[in-house]
Each structure stands twice: as structure tokens, then as C-alpha cells.
């Protein structure tokens, strides 16, 4: 088996965009190819995702881009696995490249949803979108009118805080720290500082989760260019994916059996990815973790193995997950403060780790970062993908 690398990356600013998602996608594809030093004629695979959960979704996104950019390729796919989609894409591309079936692959996603305020102003006009949001869940969950998985996350956080006696200040502190990280990221959706007091003063949206402890859905686009050994040769900015693994639990949103505050797939994916890479968790300098709510962040840090159960909140409070700490977690600002266009999010995580390992992360650079980790999830963390990246060779 050969090796697979990420040789080019590009992302838009995260926020609300007026551009058509096709145009956003084309621009990040072009920028990522320029960053990799490749032309469309050298692209051998093309993978994309839908434009959003509630967007008026077009089909066959990758095929349209192949036509638009003039790409003749040996792999084409639109992936729809919720929040994991672009991570699945990277995983498949990596395997095909390592098998020698393709020499390169362009993975891109562009998300544009109807902004929530626009939906609220015109509920009737957007009712088809609300019905689409409800249709994510099975009959026994959808019947209670769900339009987001927020109540499931709230119950998980409630049990976690209860089991480990976590004070609300420690959860609010995670949101405040992620905002501090995002202030060092020029493309982040949020530009204003956030204090623990402000988080605790925000209203409950689904107790114990408060408004400022939630990620908001955003628009944005991102692309990564993956290559095999031949195209990576002589490119010192290519970052290697040293290990990658995917794991799923037999659940869809709230578990009908077992503990709602535990997510076994996360640890299984992490252990398998680390084993393939040859690194230990203690080798990781920097990681991007998929936490959609402040309370979920410490739970994910623990499931990945960075801290013992119940111990991540105090680690965050003691500064062990920020600049100068033992491991830098979510330097981008994470889902809460970088912003969260879900179909794009895994690519944003890969891009942050690529920038950190290249030494191109600007004011949020971890000095000497050599090994990084990406964690992504789908549904209500019903499935997880973990990748371990290094400088290769």
C-alpha cells in the first residue's frame, strides 16, 4: 500500500453567504488546486456532498463540477452521511489512492441553508424545510415534533453533568475558550470575545444547554486536494494521513438501548486510527474535535481518550487544552466559534490540522506541531471517523 497526502486546502469565510453553492464550491476547488500546484487535468477523483440538510438540494454535485472544471477522473461520488460526509469522502479517497487506483482526488463541499431568522419570519413559506428537518428522525422520535437533535444532546449533557458533578461554569468555560481560539482565526464566523458570565446569562434553549453553548448552522465551502506519493514527491507542504478509521454504533439519534451520554464509536475509531498510524495519543500536538455543543466537547475529549471520564472540564479550566497546554484542542474555534456548516465541517477540521502541521496557522500556530488528529461524527455521534496526520516520509 502506498501513502496518501493532503497537498492543497482552501476554505471560504464561515458565516452567511449569498453566493450560489456551486460558485462557492468552484472557487474553493480552484484555490485548493492552486495551493497544491495542480491543474484540473491532473485531478483523478472528485467527491462532494449535498448543499445542506434543509437546502433545496441538487443531486450529482460532483458530476456538475467535473463538467465545470473539465476534470476527467476515475472516481466520482456524492456522499450523504450527515456530519461525517466529507470525512467519509477523505477516507474513501485515501484508500483508492493508497491502492494505486487513482493518483489524486479533489474533495469539496459547499453549504448554504435558509437562515433561521428568515425561516421564522415566514414559517408557512418554509414549511417544506421544517418538514425536511423533522424527517431526519424515525417515526418514534419525529412524532414529538423534533426539528433538531438538540433535546438528545441536552439529555446527554444532563446525565454527564449529573454523573460527574460538573458545575455549569465549567461547561460555559468551554464555550468561552473556543471563542478565544476563534478570535485568532481570520475566517471564523464570530469576531467578538465571549465570557463565562455571558454564556451563563444566555437563556436555556433545551436545559441544561444554553443559547451560547450551541453551534449555529452556517454557510461556507471548503476543498482539499489529496494525492499519492508520486504527486507529493518534492512538495514539503504535503501532509500525510498516517492513520484513519471509521466506527459506527447500531443507533440512529437517541439510543434505544444503553447510555445516552456515552459514544463508544468515538473510542473505537480513535484507537484504530492511532494503531494504524503508529502514534500514541500522547504524541498528538493538536486536534480538531467535532463537538456541536459546549457540553459535548469535554465528552468527546474523554471518548477520544485525552482525559479520564469526567476529567476533561477541569482540564479545560486549567488551560491544558489551549495554547501552551499539553494538547491544543480546537484551535480553529471549533464548531461553536469557527462556525458549523455541517457538510463542510470535516474539511474545515482537516484544513486546520494541515495548516498547523505546515506551520501556516498564523497567530494560532502551535509551535513545532508535528502530529495532529481530526475527529468527525454523524447524527447524534452514532458514527465517528478519526484521522491521524503527520508531516510524512
Amino acid at each position: 500500500m502506498g501513502e496518501a497526502y493532503i497537498a492543497g486546502v482552501a476554505m471560504t469565510d464561515i458565516g452567511w453567504h449569498e453566493d450560489d453553492p456551486h460558485d462557492m464550491g468552484a472557487r474553493v476547488c480552484a484555490e485548493a488546486l492552486r495551493d497544491a500546484g495542480l491543474l484540473p487535468a491532473q485531478v483523478d477523483g472528485l467527491i462532494s456532498t449535498p448543499h445542506g440538510y434543509m437546502a433545496d438540494t441538487r443531486k450529482m454535485i460532483a458530476q456538475r463540477m467535473a463538467d465545470y472544471l473539465g476534470i476527467t477522473c476515475g472516481l466520482m461520488l456524492d456522499v450523504d452521511s450527515g456530519g461525517n460526509s466529507t470525512s467519509v469522502a477523505v477516507h474513501i479517497a485515501r484508500d483508492r489512492i493508497r491502492e494505486g487506483k487513482i493518483s489524486s482526488c479533489l474533495v469539496f463541499a459547499a453549504q448554504r441553508e435558509a437562515p433561521p431568522n428568515r425561516i421564522k419570519e415566514d414559517i408557512v413559506g418554509h414549511f417544506h424545510l421544517i418538514k425536511a428537518a423533522n424527517s431526519l428522525y424515525d417515526s418514534y422520535q419525529a412524532a414529538y415534533g423534533l426539528i433538531s437533535p438538540l433535546p438528545f444532546y441536552a439529555m446527554a449533557v444532563q446525565r454527564y453533568m449529573n454523573l460527574h458533578s460538573i458545575p455549569p461554569e465549567d461547561i460555559a468555560g468551554v464555550a468561552a475558550l473556543l471563542r478565544a481560539h476563534a478570535l485568532k482565526h481570520p475566517q471564523a464566523a464570530y469576531k467578538e470575545p465571549l465570557t463565562v458570565e455571558e454564556v451563563l446569562a444566555s437563556s436555556f434553549v433545551s436545559p441544561p444547554i444554553r443559547r451560547l453553548e450551541c453551534s449555529e448552522m452556517h454557510d461556507g465551502a471548503a476543498a482539499v486536494v489529496m494525492v499519492g506519493e508520486e504527486l507529493a514527491r518534492g512538495n514539503p507542504r504535503a501532509v500525510r494521513i498516517a492513520g484513519m478509521a471509521e466506527a459506527h454504533d447500531p443507533t440512529s439519534f437517541a439510543p434505544y438501548r444503553g447510555e445516552i451520554s456515552r459514544f463508544p464509536c468515538v473510542g473505537r475509531a480513535a484507537r484504530a486510527a492511532l494503531e494504524e498510524s503508529g502514534y500514541a495519543l500522547t504524541d498528538i500536538d493538536v486536534a480538531e474535535v467535532y463537538g456541536a455543543f459546549a457540553g459535548m466537547e469535554p465528552m468527546m475529549y474523554e471518548e477520544l481518550g485525552f482525559f479520564a471520564p469526567g476529567k476533561a472540564p477541569e482540564a479545560v479550566r486549567e488551560g491544558r487544552t489551549t495554547h501552551g497546554g499539553e494538547v491544543l484542542l480546537n484551535p480553529s474555534g471549533g464548531r461553536l466559534s469557527l462556525g458549523h456548516p455541517a457538510y463542510v465541517t470535516p474539511l474545515l477540521e482537516f484544513i486546520e490540522i494541515v495548516r498547523q502541521l505546515r506551520g501556516e496557522a498564523g497567530g494560532r500556530q502551535r509551535p513545532g506541531a508535528a502530529v495532529g488528529l481530526v475527529h468527525t461524527e454523524q447524527g447524534f455521534i452514532n458514527g465517528s471517523i478519526v484521522a491521524v496526520l503527520d508531516k510524512g516520509r
Binding site: 433538531s148 433535546p151 446527554a156 436555556f204
Partner: protein, 129 residues
């Protein structure tokens, strides 16, 4: 019962029409005897396709609870919870009590409740003082 878009599959249609009559039931496999929640038309244990409907326990343990502010069809805010039924698993349900009266681990009992579009749903409530 009217066909509602969110009541999708065959077992779900039967489950919700039984609830209309106050019956809280699920499927059990005739081949291997395993009961499942939610109900199914195929058995994940033995892959059999012959099912019978059996009663679910009408009491359980409250594992977690919260409140949903924005939702379709239900009144707002709505208290929701996860209730463990012994030997069956977890049921996601409405909780018929104010949030401040609830505690993790308390016993709760089944009843039915009709949503704004006329569908009978299950709910659970703590014993009245």
C-alpha cells in the same frame, strides 16, 4: 387514523393506532421470542418475519429529561424525556410534568396524550403527590 408523514413504516402505523386505543405494545418475534422496541417487521436476532404484538411495561425509570422550545405540532415548550423500560430498553417520550418536579432515576408511569394534529402519543408522568 390519518396518514401522517412522520409515521412512516408499517410497524409504526400499527404502534400509533394501538396507542389511540390506549394500548402500549410492541412486536415480539414468534420464532425466537425476542421482543423489540421500537416494533419491527423483521427480527434483528434471528431474521424471522413473523411477529406478534405484546404489551410494554407501563412503568419505567426516568433516565434524562429536557425541554424543547421550537418544534412542529407539539405545544411549546414541551418537556421530553428518555424512560428506561425494564427488559426492553429506552423510550423517547413526552413527560407530563413541569421540569422542576423531575429528577433522574424517578419512577414514571405511562399515559396517552393527543398532539395538536390529533395523533395519540405516549407520555410518562411521576406519581401525583
Amino acid at each position: 387514523m390519518d396518514t401522517k408523514p412522520y409515521i412512516q413504516d408499517r410497524a409504526a402505523r400499527e404502534f400509533f393506532s394501538l396507542l389511540e386505543r390506549g394500548e402500549f405494545r410492541t412486536t415480539r418475534c414468534r420464532s425466537c421470542g425476542e421482543a423489540h422496541y421500537p416494533p419491527r417487521v423483521v427480527c434483528p436476532a434471528c431474521l424471522g418475519e413473523e411477529m406478534e404484538w405484546v404489551d410494554l411495561p407501563r412503568e419505567g425509570t426516568l433516565l434524562a429529561f429536557t425541554q424543547q422550545r421550537d418544534a412542529v405540532r407539539c405545544r411549546r415548550p414541551e418537556v421530553l424525556g428518555l424512560v428506561e423500560l425494564e427488559g426492553i430498553g429506552n423510550v423517547f417520550t413526552r413527560i407530563d410534568a413541569p421540569l422542576e418536579e423531575l429528577r433522574i432515576g424517578m419512577r414514571v408511569a405511562f399515559s396517552t396524550w393527543t398532539s395538536s394534529d390529533g395523533v395519540a402519543l405516549h407520555q410518562f408522568r411521576p406519581p401525583r403527590a
